[in-house]
């Protein structure tokens, strides 16, 4: 039978599947389970494509404009040329892509007819690209030869430019705009005509030359590129081989150019990696180089060195590090190296130590590199640091350390850093848009230091070319960097430049970036923009009517940011933009409109009430129209603007009720809004804001029916809104009918909830508490719901019911429904056997809440039954249970201790000792207080003996808490009950016990204050003993006791015994241990209060001019404390030093020698 069913081809397929399975298995074995975590640690692997666009950036040398011999290093003009080249490159590429696409569409049809392979077409495209490149290079060369720098090269479509005088810095934003905005003398270096380059000099390298494939005498490169280790790593981005190029380019009319003399291919370091390196992924044993060495011996990590000559042991070493640090990995004969090479290796070693070393190694290396920064020079340093930062496998920690190096080095190099500004910016700017806050802060710090070191002019000339860069990413980061520069060097200094950029006629990108800079300044500097607000607004105002939509949008966003930063001041600065903004919202749609609305939303709160009202009415029409939008972003902005408008003073409740609410509820109070988290929040916030004006009844009345909606997320949204509205505005507005609907809806939604979270619970509690006595008619229903849910199968439901009881207890009592409470109490009591600790905690807390409101006498179950039931629960280790039970027990001990037999209390005392070890301070405090209550009702003897015995235990925390408890017992039952016991216990030969006794005594005297006067004499002998003990801690604690005692008895006639103690404390002033000296100093301070400064001064005078500095220093410190405490009171006690008078200096205090 079966044979007939199985189809024949299956037989032949089955083994293949099996094979596949084995293949899969084999592959799985090779899978590195840590690969994923490794990639998460790497910044580049974690970030979005947008962030990773930083790898496409090209950095240029920026010439130091302040040096006469700016010479070779390129600089602004080259940067500008490069920027334009890049733009052109992008344009050509786009054109080619466009053409390609078109042709493919046509070719598609062709291919359907005959199957011509598209190879020929591809060759066409490639040729076109090559010829474009060639053209570009030729143009550059021609230009260099002609010496006219500023002429446009390829844009034959714009012949007008050709007519411009070639000697003028033609075009660009630098012409009229800059001249108009900046005073003449500010026309400085960066827009001056660049110096001409002599013909025949090596032309500046254009980007085309840099492709290593074009270097004909480097056959090494392709070989290395074909090496197996690299091939699989980079097979999509490999360079074209010579053969491929030959196939692509025509055979005639081309010559292979020899590279310029100083040229080194970018990939040079890779040569050192010709042998593929085995990847060691995942777990590595750090620090211990022995383990790593053993692994190396076993052949696990053959290539990775653990100890590098001159560097020592490293915490780790990655495969990628090998290419950067190749030069120092092998031993070299140092005598053969030149000075520069030695320097280079030194820098590399230091960097490796910083990047990969253990903390102490890193610290010293960082200090060395900082100290020697100027010696090394900016060039060698940054040539090594910056490539490391651009490494794709860089991790957070490494980046942090390298950025730190840059920061330190920058500080030292100061203006030497100028030629490297752009290179540094290219590396650091991406930090400004990092998702990690600290990375952003680091980035800001560096750029701010950089701009302080390089100066404003240099920063502007360096970053200017990036302002209208073709890539949006570059413009974005540049704008952010500029805002940092503005905050570092002050907005006023950057203003002329900003004005010029925002008015650039040349390209909308420049205007866009300029406006974005202003936006970023506002975001970053906050209210610090206020002094320059008008200037900044005027700077970007015209952008609202720009012909480019993106510029208009950005302008509106910039205005929004400025208004937000300036709030609540500065409305007068926005005068000029009000009209265009309000006109604009009628003209624009989509994204532009959203930005305009956003700006309006932030400006309206700044206005005076009557204006706010007027402008709100103007904008409301549009807002209501946009309520219907399907665009999520627009929705959010509309909600935000409604919220901002509603919050302003000038908008009347009447207006909101009539004109906004109907459409608002129709558009936003729909189920769909509850599904998206952000929409949900916005709608709730806005509705709460509207309720502030429209009133509780209006809002709650509109949504209360939705509490019975079938969609749970929507019910939750309704509940949250009602909670917030009622919590802020109360429930007095709610009339009887609404009240019925509200309570009904709340009970329904509470019962119907399937996901247990706080929202429903909070809502229930808030509404019921707000209604107060008005819920009485519904209580029976509510309580029966709770009772039913307390017996639910799910622990969460039971917990929630108990939590609800806690919240409702007060209201139930208010309504006089005592029998409901006692019923709840009984049911909760029966539930004390609960096994889920969270639920048990809630049940105990609920029982506690009921006990609180009904009182101990009326409590049902009676306290004498409840407490014994709690005793075993105290052993529960769960924090929530512990806290709830200790609170309940403390309450019973405080209010109704007499209902429980003494033996039960003693049992609880022993359990409480364990709670003294709890981690949570609230639990320990509650436990300590409970001892006080228990001692009060039982009498102190038994409790005290329990506590004193506990001083013998090991844990310090437990002992400390016991001493506090002893002090509390002493406070509640009178010191006379405890002090004799403590003194007796002090005679124990155990150190811990004695310290504990001293500590307890110190707390006792701290708590009882002036009462100490009765006991001062009785503790003197013990203090004599403690203050003369060899043990430091004894003397320290005794000093603390003396302090509290002295402060307590001040003015109560115990001076004789205090003076005696003072004599014992005084010699300890030479102690050096910080805690001891602190305690001794405080004791002496306290003595100043009790004995008066005169006596203290006579002690201090002995050593103020002592020959030993050590003595003088201590005595002066005491003198200073004394002086600060009682300078005036010391006047009569200063010694008469008239006999020291000499020459002009008379030291008699004559006014004090006068008598009548």
């Amino acid at each position: 039978m079966r044979d007939t069913i199985v189809p024949v081809p299956c037989k032949s397929r089955a083994p293949k599947e099996v094979l596949q399975e084995f293949a899969d298995l084999a592959e799985e074995e090779n899978v590195d389970p840590f690969a994923e975590t490794t990639s998460k640690r790497q910044i580049a692997a974690r970030q979005s494509d947008y962030h990773n666009r930083r790898f496409n950036r090209v950095a240029v040398d920026s010439a130091d404009a302040f040096k006469d011999d700016a010479g070779e290093g390129g600089g602004y003009k080259d940067a500008m040329r490069l920027a334009r080249l890049e733009q052109e490159e992008l344009r050509v590429k786009r054109a080619i892509e466009e053409k390609e696409r078109k042709e493919r569409e046509e070719g598609q049809m062709k291919m359907d007819l005959d199957k011509t392979p598209p190879a020929a077409e591809l060759a066409d495209v490639a040729m076109e690209l090559a010829s474009a490149k060639e053209q570009a290079t030729a143009a550059v060369k021609e230009k260099d030869a002609a010496g006219t720098k500023r002429k446009r090269r390829w844009d034959v479509t714009e012949p007008a430019d050709e007519n411009v005088d070639p000697n003028q810095p033609a075009g660009e934003w630098s012409d009229k705009a800059l001249e108009a905005s900046a005073p003449k003398k500010r026309r400085s270096r960066w827009d001056a005509t660049p110096a001409e380059v002599a013909v025949g000099e090596t032309p500046k390298r254009s980007r085309w030359d840099q492709t290593p494939a074009a270097a004909p005498d480097a056959p090494m490169v392709p070989i290395i590129m074909n090496a197996p280790g690299l091939m699989h790593e980079d097979k999509h981005n490999r360079y074209l081989t010579d053969e491929e190029l030959d196939a692509v380019l025509p055979a005639t009319g081309y010559a292979i150019v020899t590279p310029p003399p100083g040229y080194a291919p970018l990939v040079a370091p890779r040569k050192l990696m010709a042998t593929p390196i085995t990847e060691v992924g995942g777990f590595q044993i750090q620090e211990s180089s022995d383990a790593a060495a053993a692994a190396a011996a076993a052949g696990l990590a053959p290539e990775l060195p653990t100890e590098i000559p001159g560097v020592g042991n490293l915490a780790f070493f990655k495969a990628e590090d090998a290419q950067y640090f190749a030069k120092i990995l092998k031993e070299e004969d140092e005598t053969e190296l030149s000075v520069d090479e030695m320097k280079e290796r030194k820098i590399m070693r230091l960097l490796l130590k910083i990047k990969n070393g253990t903390p102490p190694v890193r610290k010293t290396a960082l200090r060395q590199i900082t100290d020697k920064a100027r010696e090394f020079g900016a060039g060698p340093l940054f040539d090594k640091i910056l490539p490391l930062l651009m490494e794709r496998t860089l991790e957070d920690q490494e980046r942090h350390l390298l950025v730190k190096v840059i920061d330190r080095v920058l500080y030292k190099l100061d203006d030497l850093v100028r030629p490297y500004v752009h290179k540094i910016l290219v590396v650091i700017e991406p930090l400004l848009i990092d998702e990690d806050y600290y990375a952003r802060v680091e980035g800001r710090e560096i750029i701010s230091n950089l701009s302080k070191a390089a100066g404003l002019a240099h920063m502007i000339s360096t970053m200017r070319p990036d302002i209208d860069h073709a890539d949006e990413y570059v413009r974005n980061t540049t704008a952010r960097a500029f805002s940092v520069v503005a905050s570092a060097l002050g907005i006023p200094s950057l203003l002329p430049f900003l004005k010029a950029v925002c008015r650039s006629k040349k390209s909308w990108q420049a205007r866009h970036t300029g406006i974005r800079i202003v936006q970023q300044i506002a975001i970053m500097m906050g209210c610090a923009v206020l002094p320059h607000l008008r200037n900044l607004v005027d700077c970007i105002a015209h952008g609202l009517s720009d012909e480019q939509q993106k510029v208009r949008t950005m302008t509106a966003l910039g205005l929004a940011a400025l208004a937000e930063a300036a709030a609540p001041y500065g409305i007068e600065s926005f005068d000029n933009v009000l009209k265009p903004l309000w006109l604009g919202i009628r003209l624009h749609r989509g994204k532009g409109l959203a930005a305009f609305l956003k700006a309006i939303g932030f400006i309206i709160p700044l206005m005076d009430p009557e204006y706010a009202s007027y402008y709100t009415k103007e904008v409301t029409v549009i807002l209501i129209r946009e309520f219907q939008t399907s665009d999520e972003e627009m929705k959010k902005i509309v909600l935000k603007v409604v919220k901002q408008c509603a919050a302003t003073e000038g908008v009347t409740p009447q207006y909101i009720k009539q004109d906004i609410l109907p459409d608002f509820f129709k558009a936003f109070w729909v189920r769909r809004m509850a599904l998206d988290r952000r929409n949900y929040r916005q709608v709730v916030e806005t509705t709460v804001e509207l309720a502030q004006k429209a009133g509780v009844a209006e809002i709650v009345g509109r949504i209360v029916n939705e509490l019975k909606d079938e969609a749970e997320p929507y019910r939750k949204m309704v509940m949250e809104t009602i909670t917030k509205v009622v919590a802020t505005l109360g429930a007095s507005d709610i009339d009887e009918r609404l009240e019925v609907r509200l309570v009904d809806g709340i009970i329904y939604s509470f019962q119907e909830q399937t996901t247990e979270d706080q929202v429903m619970l909070d809502g229930f509690g808030t509404v019921v508490n707000a209604l107060g006595i008005r819920v009485k008619p519904y209580l029976t229903q509510i309580v029966s719901t709770i009772l039913w849910r307390l017996n639910n199968k799910s622990a969460k439901v039971r917990q929630q019911a108990a939590d609800l009881t806690t919240r409702l207890a007060v209201v139930i009592k208010q309504c006089g429904e005592d029998q409901l409470l006692s019923k709840l109490g009984l049911v909760l009591f029966e539930q004390l056997g609960e096994e889920y600790p969270d639920t048990l905690g809630s049940i105990i807390a609920a029982e506690g809440a009921i006990a609180n409101v009904v009182g101990m006498t009326q409590m049902n179950p009676p306290v004498k039954d409840l407490l014994p039931r709690m005793t075993p629960i105290l052993r529960n280790r769960h924090e929530k249970v512990q806290e709830a039970s200790i609170n309940l027990i403390g309450r019973i001990a405080d209010r109704g201790a007499e209902f429980v037999p003494a033996r039960e209390w003693m049992r609880i005392c022993f359990e409480l000792l364990d709670l003294l070890k709890a981690h949570k301070k609230a639990i320990r405090r509650a436990a300590v207080n409970s001892f006080g209550y228990i001692a009060k009702s039982l009498g102190p003897q038994d409790v005290l003996s329990v506590l004193l015995t506990n001083l013998r235990v090991q844990e310090r925390q437990s002992r400390v808490c016991s001493t506090v408890a002893i002090a509390i017992v002493a406070e509640t039952c009178g010191p006379f009950t405890c002090i004799p016991a403590i003194l007796n216990e002090y005679r124990t030969a155990e150190l811990n016990v004695r310290t504990g006794c001293l500590k307890a005594l110190s707390f006792v005297f701290e708590y009882v204050g002036p009462q100490s006067a009765y006991y001062a004499d009785s503790v003197v002998t013990m203090l004599e003993d403690a203050l003369t003990d060899r043990d430091l801690v004894h003397r320290q604690t005794a000093s603390t006791i003396v302090k509290h005692l002295a402060l307590g008895v001040a003015g109560l006639g115990c001076e004789d015994s205090m003076l005696h103690l003072m004599n014992l404390v005084w010699p300890n002033c030479f102690e050096t241990s910080p805690h001891v000296i602190g305690a001794v100093m405080e004791a002496i301070e306290a003595m100043r209060v009790t004995l008066g400064p005169g006596i203290l001064l006579s002690y201090v005078l002995q050593g103020l001019f002592h020959p030993a500095r050590k003595v003088r220093e201590v005595y002066w410190r005491i003198y200073n404390a004394l002086y600060l405490g009682a300078a005036d009171a010391m006047v009569p006690f200063y010694p008469d030093l008239s006999e020291l008078s000499e020459g002009q200096n008379v030291y008699d205090r004559h006014p004090l020698q006068v008598f009548i």
Partner: protein
């Protein structure tokens, strides 16, 4: 902990002391210390009306005059500072 405290707590206290006029240190000279004492004394007299009127009666001066003189004398209560004799 203790080493940290040693460097912070007490040095902080010293810093705090140093911020107030009239406090001293191990290298304070006799002249400086006594000048402070005199100023404190004078300030105390000006600050306590009973002391001022006592002095006024003893000197046979007006109370305002005594106050003024005391305040004036605070400038250099013990004469000009002694010249530093060592090198």
């Amino acid at each position: 902990m203790s080493s940290e405290l040693r460097y912070t707590a007490n040095t902080q206290l010293e810093h705090l002391h140093a911020r107030y006029t009239g406090t001293g240190h191990a290298d304070l000279s006799k002249y400086d210390w006594l000048t402070h004492q005199h100023r404190d004394t004078l300030a105390s007299i000006v600050g306590h009306p009973t002391l001022t009127s006592y002095l006024a009666i003893a000197d046979g001066e007006a109370i305002g005059r005594v106050k003024f003189e005391m305040t004036e004398r605070m400038l250099q209560p013990c004469g000009p500072p002694p010249r530093k004799d060592e090198d």
